[in-house]
Symmetry: C2
């Protein structure tokens, strides 16, 4: 997929890079790319984690067992030895079915604090904090200057950790860059997420029951997201900044489902309205990509149609390898 490393990738080659959340959807893609460009990746991984997403590169990654919900562990401290860049993607509560607010806050806020403190002591060159579009409330082309208005404890925890990271930049000059990915999608995304769910249904011609599908989201292909993460670690002007990782386009669930059915050539007809909307439904959520374009020199290159097509092809080819993609 990548021809030659560009300058950002070259400047990460040979660096010792800590990645938290390395077994997650974004984390696994990031780690794979870093390994590919020649970084030495130290992956912080909870002892209970399933390594399926990074199984194929495990021999090229240094694994440090550590649970950020118990951040006082000595492993965390030693994992930062000689680390030049920290990518902090670990978070509890990404899966909306997990609702233990105290545990979410403990991991996401207290864990981030500890990591920031260690990164400061170790004088890392760059600390990239992975935030989330859930730090915002609903809205269209939301700018990074909008007031946080999370509608879930998870969103509040991500925003609280963002604020801590920002404080470490302001108070101690820690070179923090904060990213806010919107709806990332692509290969290896969890089976219960919208796009994998729809692709699997379409491929298997099984009943596709949906809400009315009028909600809109800003979908961004995972390879593009990884590109933003690389830029965030190397662009000098990025330090201290917060950047949306988004396309700026709001696409309805309905459009996504229809495109997937068309791309797969499936005979299935999406049943819009078969499932009720959530009480807490967010109707519109898209970001303004202007600041990332201006300061990181980054913008999403993959159209939704192209990204869905790549994702669909990947699922067709690879999903049989992964038990988590078996139809339920």
């Amino acid at each position: 997929m990548h021809l030659w490393p560009d300058s950002e990738e070259r400047s990460l080659s040979g660096k010792r890079i800590l990645v938290t959340g390395a077994t997650g959807f974004l984390g696994a893609h990031l780690v794979a790319r870093l390994v590919e460009v020649g970084s030495h990746v130290v992956a912080l991984i909870r002892p209970a984690s399933n390594l399926w997403r990074i199984q194929h590169i495990l021999d090229r990654v240094e694994i440090v067992p550590c649970d950020l919900s118990h951040p006082e562990t000595a492993n965390l401290e030693s994992s930062l030895s000689d680390v030049q860049v920290v990518y902090h993607l670990a978070a509890a509560g990404v899966d909306q079915s997990y609702q233990d607010a105290a545990s979410i806050m403990q991991t996401n806020v207290m864990g981030t604090l500890r990591l920031l403190q260690l990164a400061r002591t170790r004088k890392v060159e760059r600390f990239v904090y992975c935030g989330s579009c859930s730090e915002y409330g609903p809205g269209t082309r939301l700018s990074e200057d909008s007031l946080p208005a999370p509608t879930s404890e998870y969103g509040a925890s991500k925003s609280a950790a963002w604020m801590l990271a920002r404080t470490f930049f302001q108070r101690y000059g820690l070179p923090v860059v904060s990213l806010r990915p919107f709806n990332a999608y692509g290969p290896l995304e969890a089976a219960n997420k919208l796009i994998p769910h729809l692709i699997i249904k379409a491929i298997e011609n099984s009943k596709m029951e949906l809400t009315g599908g009028e909600q809109t989201r800003d979908f961004v292909f995972v390879d593009d997201v990884v590109g933003a993460f690389l830029a965030a670690a190397v662009i000098p002007d990025a330090v201290g900044g917060t950047f949306n990782v988004c396309t700026g386009l709001a696409t309805s669930i309905k459009e996504v489902a229809s495109a997937i059915v068309e791309l797969t050539g499936s005979a299935v007809q999406p049943l819009f309205g078969a499932v009720p909307y959530r009480d807490t439904e967010i109707w519109t959520l898209s970001g303004d990509p202007g600041r990332a374009r201006h300061s990181l020199g980054w913008s999403a290159r993959t159209s939704l149609r192209n990204g869905l097509d790549k994702t669909m092809r990947w699922f067709r080819e690879h999903r049989s390898r992964y038990p988590m993609y078996r139809a339920s």
Copy 2:
């Protein structure tokens, strides 16, 4: 000082009201006023707290021992029985000499989360969150719509807890009101704070060594702050809002010191420049009082001169009773 209860005070009469941070400077003034207007006050107090500020009203307050840094305690849960209004003022790290960031975050963020969860379960009528001007970075006439930009872990913790409270309003409809007091001053303020420190020096004619004193702050008299807290608990339109509690006026430390020397008739000459500025000095910090005036119908009534005069008289008359005001 108060002639007749106004309508806000009348509507709090007879209510069961939980106050956290009741032994603090603002908390003690709030509790005293609530007792005066006939509320039934339940005060959450750490077992180790010094009760000096509320000693004179202890017989009219229900004390519940509880440390919010261990929020799982059963006392916290039972303290909320039949409570109609919660005033949440407890926080670690108010004193800048306390710098244990993990403990500050634990108390201020995890403790607030637990309290919000219980308040939601108990269906309280109003939850007043006491934030802080330290949630902002430096600035003049800062509006509540400014992006938080704390320069300390304490400020970050207050802002993180504010975000949680906001989320509980947005997600669960908990009737939260957030206040952001600026530089409150008055009787009972800690002896190491600027205004008590200067008043005691002036009264005792002892050497008054200061920085250059060019920093400006928005000083607001504690009786006025309490007025904002009462309004926040009763005004229907306040729910879901965040309100600066400030005057809008930025006054330099130099002006404050000179006014105190003049009001006390002290012979002492403030030595400006005798102490170096802090590395992390915030040069300007004042708020926009417009929203509180518009939505709470509240504005500060006490001029700085008048407030300093009242404070000075109180210190002259009462400080001998309190060991904490003995000159060091």
